[in-house]
């Protein structure tokens, strides 16, 4: 390869790769600060600085999309930029929640930050991947740090168990993907997504079909969709809460970001079956959440249900493949996914943040019964939790509602009316368990013997307030918040 072709390869790549460069720079800086006694005081500032830098360059990307780069294997368009913002947000929330969370693992906080900032690099690669191999690298860059982070409270059995479980099942999912990609390559002779969309005949063969099915299996595994959902409750519950935040908001967004890119490759006949899987996921997730007594587990099951609704949007996009309305529906699906994931990140991230905050006062605060009557002693925290849950339940005036509206619009546009109605009705079940939490917090008396929880955590308070403000802003003034994004 001569110099000119190299220059060709990298032309225009600086804009598209800027968020990645910011994060990689941040990663190196964290590692250097960690081993340099003079610089160690700077360490807490490095991660947010790198994340904000990445967010700034992602915003640049949305304003000036740079198109496919690196020989067409990665695309830096506004979609990648917008998803990057969600990833950065998820990481920022997880980072903030982790600040005073680890008391026994304090000495490893440098490693923690380094692992944490690696995850969004993987997510961005997944969101912008135009090539299966780039996606695979992204997937691994995301997963490996998360395996470590899930087990980060290594003195606790549940945390180690969560890490191991996530690792083994994750390895299984990765194996599915590699097998599938191999079969697709054998059938179609390419791993480039753009080329695969034109290789419909080759992918229609049993070999290609099998390959696509395996790839979808691994993607649905990462997204936590039925029937690949059983790892979610255990891992979400066992992992340290900040890591749960990152998994719930970031990993899910990354999986769906790539599903959106991958949707045009799938045959349109796959749309309806996918929609049925989506509705089954919605039902299973909501029914599973109904009986949970642990808040993190409850949020995990509700996360499965949310993944179901997002899959319904993907199904709508798949159905439209090859029809005259493809561009329109794909557009609707993109904005629905983005908005939904953004609102979900604030609501679920905010709720998990409150759980992490309360855990400072005793780890049994992940259990719902410990929140009983909290409204009478800590109305601020109780009100925040209520707002986040109402947003997750899709009640108007919160971001969750508009997300739901956009998601169902995409399904209705794709002529999936029966599925949309079924999906909407499962939300009634969902409201049942969100309200159970609200009832516990506000309507049951607080046992007298319980001390008022301590709340001396300015950063946690700030993050919760920020999330609450954004949930409301997304519900009431979405244009003001998103004007520049859409």
């Amino acid at each position: 390869m001569n110099f000119e072709s190299l220059q060709d390869l990298y032309s225009g790549a600086s804009g598209a790769l800027a968020p990645l460069l910011w994060l990689t720079g941040g990663l190196l800086a964290v590692l250097i600060c960690d081993i340099t006694p003079v610089l160690i005081k700077l360490r807490p500032a490095v991660v947010p600085a790198a994340l904000l830098g990445a967010a700034w360059s992602a915003a640049q990307l949305i304003a000036n999309p740079s198109g496919p780069v690196l020989g067409g294997t990665f695309i830096g368009d506004s979609q990648t930029g917008a998803f990057t913002l969600i990833f950065v947000l998820a990481t920022l929330l997880a980072w903030g929640q982790a600040r005073r969370y680890y008391d026994q693992e304090k000495s490893f906080i440098g490693e923690h930050d380094a692992l944490l900032i690696t995850a969004p690099i993987g997510m961005i690669l997944m969101a912008g991947a135009q090539d299966m191999i780039v996606f695979f690298i992204g997937l691994e860059l995301l997963s490996i740090p998360l395996y470590c982070l899930a087990a980060f409270r290594r003195t606790r059995d549940e945390s180690v168990e969560a890490g191991l479980r996530y690792f083994i099942l994750g390895a299984f999912g990765v194996a599915l993907f590699l097998m599938g990609a191999g079969l697709v390559y054998t059938a179609a002779g390419t791993l480039n997504i753009e080329s695969l969309t034109h290789a419909r005949v080759a992918l229609g063969t049993p070999l290609g079909g099998m390959g696509l099915a395996l790839i979808m299996g691994s993607l649905l595994f990462k997204a936590g969709v039925v029937p690949f959902h059983l790892w979610v409750p255990d891992v979400y519950q066992g992992s340290p809460t900040p890591v749960t935040t990152l998994m719930a908001t970031g990993t899910k967004a990354a999986a769906f970001a790539f599903l959106l890119r991958f949707a045009p490759v799938l045959p349109p006949e796959a749309g309806y079956p996918l929609g049925i899987i989506a509705v089954v996921t919605l039902a299973m997730g909501n029914l599973g959440a109904l009986v949970q007594k642990d808040l993190k587990r409850l949020l995990a099951w509700s996360g499965i249900a949310h993944a179901g609704l997002l899959l319904l949007v993907i199904a709508a996009a798949v159905t439209a493949t090859g029809t005259g309305e493809q561009a329109q529906i794909l557009n609707a699906a993109t904005s629905a996914l983005l908005f939904y994931l953004l609102a979900y990140a604030f609501a679920a991230g905010g709720a998990l943040g409150l759980v992490a905050w309360m855990e400072a006062d005793g780890e049994d605060h992940t259990s719902l019964s410990r929140w009983q009557g909290l409204g009478s002693v800590r109305p601020g925290i109780a009100a925040g939790m209520t707002l986040f849950l109402l947003s997750l339940g899709g009640i108007p005036a919160t971001g969750g509602f508009l997300g739901k509206w956009l998601a169902f619009s995409a399904a209705v546009r794709a002529d999936m009316l029966p599925l949309a109605v079924l999906g909407a009705l499962t939300s009634v079940v969902a409201m049942g368990y969100y309200l159970r939490v609200v009832i516990t917090i506000w309507m049951k008396p607080r046992p007298e013997a319980w001390a008022t929880p301590r709340i001396d955590r300015p950063l946690a308070a700030f993050l919760a307030g920020f999330c609450a403000a954004m949930v409301l802003a997304l519900g009431l003034l979405p244009g003001f918040v998103l004007g520049p994004l859409f």
């Binding site: 509206w405 169902f408 409201m431 049942g432 309200l435």
Partner: protein, 513 residues
């Protein structure tokens, strides 16, 4: 002056202020809340005055772009009031301060929260009636659920948690089906403006209208509540604090009948014509069934709650007769039911505060110790059973007149409801007020205080005014209802034309022979 924005945002501003002021003095908090509701009442009066009875379209309109997500959604913040909503707006603004005054003795814990929810509730209900944009309407529709949920759940009775959850989930199930219907409607029509949607939907075929009508009507039928969906109402009413019951009966249920009229009948006239018999049957069945339920109750609050099912059956019966008298009667009866049932709930609340019992058998003869209470109770009962000269009579008369045109049989069934209504309400009156005083506790009851008389009197006066002089009230609904009638007439023509087409043509040879 943006009157409608002011009327919605005044209570919200009050709620915000209550949440933020660092005052702990309960009296001051109550005064602040009352002040804001009184300003809202004043604004409601201005709306009433500024309303032009001759104009059929939305009045006092305000339109501002709210947000736009290109290719997906462009919602406007647009408000307006017309003949369908003016009475309900006025009713809401009128009732709220009185309800607030009624809570000074009843609500003593977590007062600040309670007042905040009351004010948010008021804004939500006014928003539902005033929204001229479907998205805005839906936002207000569901937001108004939340305050009542908290009011029931925190300040309710023994079985409140069960009742709260049931109320919320029932209503939500309907709302979500409506949400899908709204999305399908908006996607096909390409606008969120309710007036434009009404224009669009009226021109569509029956198959399109039918499904959308079904989606919307289900949500409203649950809210009303219409017969098979009524089970949440007695529970919610019984467990709610007095103020919650009054708001629920007075205004919140009217959101259902209002929706049936604006989104069911006005928007999808063809489908409404097809569904009219079904709804009239459900209405008539609700009248009789609710009355039977009420007759069997021993808890007086539950009795009133069941009578609500019966009375709202009347409203639906008249509305879906789709005749001019029926429509007018049902619109007026919405207000009447709000006033008389609201009065009854207030009175039950007052006596409950003294005696802490709602069992009919615990009372008896209390007219001797509480003559003022007896006067107001009898007045409210008479207003509720439709005594000529009081408000209930005018509404019921118009409804039965209108329903008779459409279906004499069902009207006959409905009329029995009037008789049954007299039976259970007068029975309750006799058991509570008259006869010998059997319990010593009842001997010690004190009569109504000046505050209580003061808050009941305006409602009673309004009952009397509507009963004697319904003109100004019906007059304001006239123009808008005429437009609905025209749409219905056009739909009837269309229906007739279609029947003509479907009639098997007489073979030519046979006629030649």
């Amino acid at each position: 002056m943006p009157l409608l924005t002011l009327i919605i945002f005044t209570p919200l501003l009050g709620a915000l202020l209550l949440a933020l002021v660092p005052i702990r003095e309960v009296k001051v908090l109550r005064a602040i809340a009352l002040g804001f509701t009184l300003v809202t009442t004043l604004l409601g009066f201005l709306v009433w005055q500024g309303f032009d009875p001759g104009e059929a379209a939305l009045q006092l309109t305000e339109v501002h772009p709210w947000f736009e997500l290109p290719g997906a959604l462009a919602a406007n913040y647009s408000l307006g009031v017309d003949g369908i909503s003016i009475l309900l707006v006025a009713l809401t603004a009128f009732l709220m301060p009185l309800v607030l005054i009624s809570t000074t003795q009843a609500i003593t814990t977590r007062v600040r929260e309670f007042l905040i929810w009351m004010l948010i509730m008021e804004a939500g209900m006014l928003g539902v009636f005033l929204a001229a944009d479907l998205f805005l309407f839906y936002v207000f529709w569901e937001v108004s659920l939340v305050p009542l949920y908290f009011m029931l759940g925190i300040w309710g009775g023994q079985k409140r948690l069960y009742a709260t959850l049931k109320f919320f989930l029932f209503t939500l199930a309907g709302s979500l089906v409506m949400l899908i219907g709204a999305i399908a409607l908006v996607y096909q029509a390409g606008t969120l403006d309710i007036a434009a949607l009404t224009q669009w939907a009226g021109a569509e075929s029956l198959s399109v209208q039918g499904w959308l009508f079904a989606a919307f009507a289900l949500a409203f039928a649950i809210k009303v509540p219409l017969l098979p969906f009524h089970t949440w109402l007695p529970d919610a009413h019984t467990e709610a604090p007095t103020a919650g019951s009054v708001i629920l009966a007075g205004v919140l249920l009217k959101m259902g009948t209002y929706g049936l009229l604006r989104f069911g009948i006005a928007m999808f006239p063809l489908a409404a014509l097809e569904a009219s018999t079904l709804f009239m049957i459900l209405g008539a069945a609700g009248i009789v069934y609710g009355a039977f339920l009420a007759m069997a109750q021993t808890d007086v609050k539950r009795l009133i709650a069941c009578s609500s099912v019966s009375h709202l059956g009347f409203v639906v019966l008249g509305m879906f007769a789709l005749t001019s008298a029926g429509l007018r009667g049902s619109v007026l009866q919405m207000v009447n039911h709000g006033l008389s049932t609201g009065l009854l709930f207030l009175l039950i609340g007052m006596v409950y505060e003294r005696r802490h019992s709602r069992e009919l058998s615990d009372y008896g003869g209390i007219a001797r110790v509480m003559p003022m209470f007896a006067f107001f109770f009898v007045f409210s009962v008479l207003s509720s059973v439709g005594l000529p000269g009081l408000n209930g009579f005018v509404g019921e008369w118009l409804i039965l007149l209108g329903a008779f045109e459409a279906s004499p049989v069902l009207t006959g069934v409905g009329v029995t409801g009037v008789v049954f209504g007299a039976v259970y309400l007068l029975r309750a009156t006799r058991l509570m007020l008259f006869g010998e005083i059997t319990s010593d506790q009842n001997r010690a009851l004190t009569d109504l205080t000046g505050r209580e008389i003061g808050l009941l009197t305006p409602i009673c006066l309004l009952c009397l005014v509507i009963g004697v002089m319904p003109g100004p009230f019906i007059e304001r609904t006239e123009a808008s209802l005429e437009v609905i009638e025209q749409r219905l007439d056009a739909a009837r023509d269309q229906q007739a034309a279609r029947a003509e087409l479907e009639r098997p043509a007489v073979p030519a040879e046979e006629s030649a022979r």
